[in-house]
Symmetry: C2
């Protein structure tokens, strides 16, 4: 059920947002484009758009089924999902279960150290500034969100972590960290938005620690398409 092409509303690094004929909705189109290190590294990952759309659709469905409000309405086609249009809270919400990536580099620690409890970090979603880490108190002071919204995001992010850790553990994958975005519906309610996919999570094969996510692209490890496909197979397999 592909809708007719219309003028795009926004084109980002990995997705394009198109208007929808349904009121209050937009269509998210998943591209094969991959970027890393704040846009410095760019390439295409064959089939990624399709895989990520299917993984994100499945994960949003799973989370909705467990009481998490999301923007997801339904999958429209191989590369498109229908979502409720929201006003994105300009924060990237990062949940970390182990040290990895930016965190490990920033503080000069090895990857893979288990954190004593899940660590919630926020970065100010602003490409020109390089998405800088921001304290919740600073985000409040700059008016990026309200205190009630902050508390709601904290609660939802930790619930989502518990749900996704469990989901992937059943698929022999360890959820190391991930990035979320939240948005405001017209009535002000917050919902989980954007996407959840191997582009926005670190997933390590349990036992071997093999990377099954965008780090294969970032670090030129090879087998990028295959890893994304394998995650999709496990998502569909249970």
């Amino acid at each position: 059920m592909e809708e007719i092409r219309m003028e795009k509303l926004y084109e980002g690094k990995a997705k394009i947002i198109y208007p929808s004929s349904e009121a209050g909705m937009v269509r998210v189109y998943f591209k094969d484009d991959a970027t890393a290190f704040n846009g410095q590294k760019r390439a295409q990952i064959a089939g990624k758009g399709s895989v990520n759309n299917q993984i994100a659709s499945a994960l949003f469905g799973y989370l909705e089924g467990h009481g998490i409000p999301t923007h997801f309405v339904r999958q429209l086609s191989e590369r498109e999902m229908l979502v409720r249009q929201v006003e994105i809270v300009p924060l990237e919400v990062i949940v970390r279960n182990r040290t990895a990536g930016t965190f490990a580099r920033r503080y000069g620690v090895e990857e893979g150290r288990v954190l004593p409890k899940p660590l919630l970090e926020f970065s100010y979603k602003n490409d020109a500034l390089g998405d800088p880490l921001i304290y919740p108190e600073a985000a409040l002071a700059l008016g990026l969100l309200s205190e009630a919204e902050l508390e709601r995001i904290r609660t939802l992010a930790l619930q989502i972590n518990t749900l996704l850790k469990d989901y992937f553990a059943q698929r022999n994958l360890e959820l190391v960290d991930f990035k979320l975005e939240f948005g405001r519906l017209p009535d002000g309610r917050l919902v989980l938005a954007d996407e959840i996919s191997p582009d926005t999570m670190r997933l390590w094969e349990m036992g071997t620690g093999e990377k099954m996510d965008k780090d294969r692209f970032r670090r030129d490890l090879g087998g990028v398409e295959e890893a994304y496909q394998e995650v999709l197979r496990r998502v569909q397999g249970l």
Copy 2:
């Protein structure tokens, strides 16, 4: 009462630490050296070492008099103070009353916006990593300090802010932000350590907003020595 010169224990960007003949003590020698932007800009500010030693000595004395435990014992000479030797907690504790400096640059906001309440930020004291901003929860996870120490530091830093804001307001200077370091005594108690001076604070002339601190050096505003001298005069004047 200059003590005999001995092998230095540590030489930093602005100070040298020498052993002392008194048990558990060290001598802090204040240099004229000034650095900015993580050591990329370097120069000498004539008389700075002497001025900062006198200002820091006066401020430590004032804070001690108001119940804040510090490493300060007494001023030894024009450029030296005697302090209790501590194990420095590797965090820079930053208190902000208005947006300025790194904060304003990092988030792309103008300087001088009043924050709704004092904002406490921590950065990991590590020159090689560029003193990166760190969440308190991350500092705990990395074992940089204990939870009890974190709570104590929070309390002390906010008390110090209230005391110093008041102190400088009486001298027609507004305390915009400042950096503190804390250290552990052999018995584990935390004390305020390092220095408090125009190198480590932003002070704006009340009314005009003229900068009376190291920003004159960082931004090539001229009148650097004069501003430091003027702060000292006001510290001594009341």
